[in-house]
Every structure is written in C-alpha cells, then in structure tokens.
Assembly symmetry: C2
Homo-oligomer: 444 residues x 2
Amino acid sequence: MKENKIEPRTLTGFMELLPENQILFNQMVDKIRKSYEEFGFLPLDTPVIELAEVLLAKAGGETEKQIYRFNKGENDLALRFDLTVPLAKYVAINYNDLAFPFRRYQIGKVYRGERPQKGRFREFYQCDIDIIGDNELNLLNDAEIPNVIYNTFKRLELGDFTICINNRKILNGLFKSLNLEEISVDVMRIIDKIEKIGKEQVVQELLKLGVTSRTAEKIIEFIQIDGTTDEKIQALEQMNITDELYITGVNELKEVIKNIRLFGIPDQNFKIDLTIARGLDYYTGTVYETFLNEYKQLGSVCSGGRYDNLAEFYTDKKLPGVGISIGLSRLFYQLSELNAFNQKEKSIAKVLVVAMDDNEEQQTMSKAIEVATLLRNNGISTQIYTENKKIKAKFKYADKLKIPYVAVIGENEVNNNKITLKNMSTGEQEEIEINNEALKKYFE
Amino acid sequence: MKENKIEPRTLTGFMELLPENQILFNQMVDKIRKSYEEFGFLPLDTPVIELAEVLLAKAGGETEKQIYRFNKGENDLALRFDLTVPLAKYVAINYNDLAFPFRRYQIGKVYRGERPQKGRFREFYQCDIDIIGDNELNLLNDAEIPNVIYNTFKRLELGDFTICINNRKILNGLFKSLNLEEISVDVMRIIDKIEKIGKEQVVQELLKLGVTSRTAEKIIEFIQIDGTTDEKIQALEQMNITDELYITGVNELKEVIKNIRLFGIPDQNFKIDLTIARGLDYYTGTVYETFLNEYKQLGSVCSGGRYDNLAEFYTDKKLPGVGISIGLSRLFYQLSELNAFNQKEKSIAKVLVVAMDDNEEQQTMSKAIEVATLLRNNGISTQIYTENKKIKAKFKYADKLKIPYVAVIGENEVNNNKITLKNMSTGEQEEIEINNEALKKYFE
C-alpha cells in the first residue's frame, strides 16, 4: 500500500491559500460582512447544489456551457454559478415569510467551469447585497447602495476609489430615439472601445454598421459628455432628446445623484459614467461600477444595478430590486499579485506561550496554561507551544507563524509569578506580572 | 414566457433557513470560530470540488456510495465529504511551507448523498480543528483539545455538557490480550449495546461469537468499570493485563486526565467512558465524544481523537494528529426542534430609522440619513426605512424583522435636532438629542 501513493493535488482554477494569505482573505470577508450588516442586510446561505431546472430557468449561452451539471440518483443537478438566481428562487419560495423591502447579503462560493487563466477561478467567492421590493422599490435605495459601497471600500483600505454611476434608461432611450434598438448591442460594443481606439475609429465602425453619419455624430456627442457631475446632468438635459425613457433615465440619475450627496458620499468618490451598461441584460435603471484609483487596471471591483423583476421565471409577483456584487477571489488574487496589501495582523494567535525548559516540568506547564487562560479571558488569542524542543526552535516557530509576542516561562517566572514578554518585531523584552491588570495594560 | 414558470424549490436534504434562523445559525458559527481562534488555530478554506482520485484515496464502502461524483471535461471530480481528507491533501502538498505543530480550523460545507431523513442533511457544515505534528506530537495536545471543546460549548450556552474521553489503545490492548483482535469489530458492536440489552444478553451474544466464558467475563469486568475518574484509572491498572499496548493506553489516559485538570476543566465537565471507540478505524489513541446533559438524545455533538498518520495515502512523512469535529447543521436542526435556543439578538439591524411622514421630504430624509450614519459610526447596525408607507406600516416592518429600536423623525425632530427612540419590546419612547454622546449613552 505504502508504495502506491496518490499524488496530492488541487484542481487548476481552485484557490487554496497558505494560512497567512487565508488570514488576510478572511479579514477582507469580515470587513465586507461587517459593512453589509452595518446597513441591516440579513444573512442568507443557500445550497451550493440546486436542481438544474431551477438554476437554469433563465440561463443560456455562456453560462449554460460553464455550468457544473451532473446526475445523482434521479436528479439533474447543478452547482450555483452566481448568488442572484438562488436569491430569486429563495424569494419566490419564501415570499410570504419575508418582510419587504427584503435586504439580504450572501457571501459564498459559486462555480463556473471557465477555461482557467491567471486570476480567473472556477470556484470563487461572491459577496452580494440586494434590496428587493414587493411590486415597487423606492429610488432612494439606488442612492443607498453607493453608501454601502463607500463604507465597504473605506473599511477595506485599498486606497482611493471611484463609484461610477449611470442609468440604463438613458442609453436605452438614446438608442430608441435614434432607432438603434435592434443593433444596440453592437453599438455598445463599439462605444466601449472609445478609450482604446479613439473617436475617429468609433465613427468608422458605427458607419460600417449602417448607422447614418448624423446618428453617429449624436452618439459621439453623447459619449463625449464631460465635466463635473452637475455639468454632465445639464448636458444630458440639453441633448434635445424627447424620448420618454431617456427623460425618465436622466431624471432618475439626477435624483440618485442628489440623494447620494444626501448620504454624505464625497464628490471625489463618485462620478457619472455614461458608458457603463453592464453586460447583463436584466439591469433596467441605475448601474454601478467601482474602480480602485491606484489599480484601475483591475477593472470594476464592485458592480451591479437596478432590475425590474428578480424572479419572473418563478413567480408572477413583480419583484424589483437593486444590488451589487464583489468578486472577492479574483480581487484578492489580483491585489496579492500587485502587493497591494498592507496587512497588520498576519497571525491568529497574538501570543505564543513557551516553557523555557522542558514542557514535562509540571510547574512550568501549569503556569503556562494559567497564563494562556488569563490571556484568552482578556480576549487575546493565545497558543501554548506543546512540543519538547529547544527554546530556539520555539522562537523560530513564533517567527514562522508571525506571532507578535512570545511569553517565556521558566523557573524564575514560576517563582516570581511573572512572565517575560518578548515583542517579536522590536525584540524588546519586558517582565510582566501574571494578573489581569498587568496583562491588559501591556496589550492595550 | 410568463405562463411557463419553473416551480422554485430547494433540494430535499439541503438546509435553507429563513433570515431569523440564519442569524442564529451564524451566531453559532461565529462563536465556534471565535473559540477556535482564541487557541490560535489557523483558518483554512479548501475547495468543495476535488479530483475523485485524490478525495477517494482512502475511502471505500459507504462513503464511496454517498459521494457526489461527476465528470467535467476530462476530469473525474467529487465533492468533499468531510474536511479531514482535504486537510491531509493540503498538508501533504504544503508540507514545506507549514510550521509544525500545524493547528488549523476549517468551517465549511461537506456533501453526502445519504437517504434524506429528519435531521440528516446532504449538504452540511462541519466545524473542525486539528493539530498535526511532524513525525511526533506531544500528548499535551490531547489534553488541550478538551479545553477547546470546553470553551466552545461554554460560549454556545447550550447548558451543561460532558466531554467523554477514552483511549483506543486500551480497547485494542484488551482485545489483543484476550486474542480477540480478529473479531474486535463484532465484539465492539455487542459491547455498544449493553445499555440497551443488558449484561446477560451481551454475554450470550459474546458466547455465540465463539468467545470463551472466561474471556466474556473479562470483557464484562472491563466494561463495568465504574466510579470516579480516578477510581476508573485505578481499576484499569488493576485489571491484571500485561499487554504492552493496554498499559501504554492506560498510562496515556492517566496523563491526559492529569493535564485536562491542569487546563482547568472542572471535573463535572469530563469523564472517562471506556466504551467509546469511534467508528472510524484511524483513531489510534485518545478519543472524545461530547454530550449536552439536557439533550443526551442528540448523541455526541462533538467528537474526534488522536490518529497516527493523517496523510499516509499521499506521503511517506509521518503526520500524527489529534482533532475534533462539530456537525453543525444537524446540531442546529435538532436544537431548533427542541426549542433549545435562548436567542437574544434576532435581527441584524439594531435600529430602524423611519420618517414620520413622507420620505420624499428632503429635510426629514436628510436628518434620517444623518442619524443612521451617526449610529453606524458608533458601531450600531442601522437600517433606514426607504419606502413611502404609512407610519404604521413602518413600525410593522420593524416588528416583523424584530428590530429592537425604531428612531422616528418628523418635523419636530428636525427642528429640535432630536429623535424619538422607541424600544420595541417595552414600548417605551424617549427623546434623544442627535449627537454621539447622547446616542452612545442610550445604547450602552
């Protein structure tokens, strides 16, 4: 048997971190969760496995190809590929038990069998919030979502960031007024490239698509709207477009911007970006993207928007909503690659308690346990070093685990009821009495 | 399209909770995590999907039948059925990057396609800790594990509990000395029934198995050892068994008990139970089971033990370890059924801020946002009620979500820079000035 070892390995595209990075990853999850809960979002935890029929009610194309799907017994099953479809299912099932607006967050793994590539994962965390209304949902919610984004990214301490806001009705109304509805996807695709290929090239591609030069001009006029937030709104109002959808979109955007300011988000942290459409075709109003100013190359790190109907594939109830998602695994991976973290706490244990000599010495170990328990009772995570090694090996262990303090206990310490605390980063040592007050004071 | 709705439903055997219960479930997870981290265990998060070959290196029998296994592309994949095999894989892969003893916790979902029945889930949470040594692992760790169990169940506040301890070497040595090694599984099965079928019946069944009456007597003598912890150890020592394994087992148990006391666990919270074997055949030393005194019918709620070799199917390195697992989904379900929870916080938001009148009134909403932000900055989760409803509906919402406080803001409040805070459980109302000090004082 011993000769026939199985090669231990983890699947490509599946993130599995060393403890130090896992601690950091968890710190991000905790901060996101804290931000979401601060705004009263309720936790949700839906199964990873669902009936394929239920999960794929709406899907198609790429999603369906990427899905993990299999049979177990008589069931055709699939792994969730996002947290929105399970939310739709959940709200449809539990409609009568929920209070609306239903505000939920879910932080969990989702699965997409993509071709693995750098920074793309087949199993990855999404951190979602959504606010679901029963039949209607006040536009005020569209302004509160940026407040949640703002608090979340402030807490994540990843430097300055910009929340970009748009309203799908503006784009849709513009296309309607220009009779471009049928080719809107192609037009959007071309518009999206303006920063890469420049204005002239965009016009050329639009003409190739059969768009008149007058219409192309109007499109260029629109996507070149620039200036302050208020100047942009003014320019939108002066576009001379009478399409009702367009006008509604501009008014909604104006209202959302007004309320975003009411929510106290500084002007430097948000802006109108009229080119944001969000690929998904179910966004119908406000849309968001978030960029880290120092790491713009990452693209949007937190996106979402307003949709008219969350669960139309399951129920006749009209359930409008607004939400966002952070693709955490990818963000974490990219930030790691960029060395963007300024991690303070790199260990779980704050103190490693070590015996100066032999662990088997009952008095020493008894004192070590007493100290560890006292520290834990004061909320300080503490590990006792349990093995019979030389003191040097014990310190090396603390070093490798980046535990910031080592408490040494020897004969002297036992006799004087003291510990010698060593700060591992400064090297400073201090003798501390073993009691609540002295320990609390030291770790303050 | 609208007519062809898909029936939204969740798979049988998959737990999906309403928000109020999810909050409670998460509180339990948080307490377990906090306890594990308090002892310096490092977090780990391995993929839910693994290569079937890797995951099933050791499995067989029931496990293999229950597994969720499927192909994706060219890969033969499976969902993890516990957190121990992924740990073994992880330690084998990352051996050179880990510091030993390697102490990790993992809280995550595992999958077993069992026949669903009340309280049995196909997707369920396990909350594991393990301490892995490199070639050797001090017996002191076997005594620290009950300390972690003790702290965890104290924090969970599920009433009194008893940690039952045994050592597999004692049973194995006993069987060896009685020449019962080849039928030890059958003997164990019979012994296990003593509380149900009584001593006479056990003897009868042992004789039927071909055991001599002298040997049966010795077995009965052994399993009837009773008394205090110290009396049990004394009786074990006086069994007149000279088998080396047996003697080692008794000595280990004695040492573990001595150290458990050193760790400060009260005698009422642990006991020796010589009948505990734990089904899994890889436990080789200390074994644990934990019972809630008020809910003994649940069986063991936290079990584990010492094993000689964590990862022998992947590596030649000898990796002894000791660990425990809490099957949280099942425990949660059973405790819910028994109404065993005494939940204090049933909501995420502590305060619901509502406008007395129309939300559209900018001054009122501006004040509501100001108050909500102030509360959040003081660490109080706060939700603003965003919809244009009558004040009565707003209070009903707070009630349904069990939010403990409602902050009302009307014209008066705006003018006087005050809020009216209503305690939803007592009905008491109080006018509070809108500033940090007044709010802090109120929520202290």
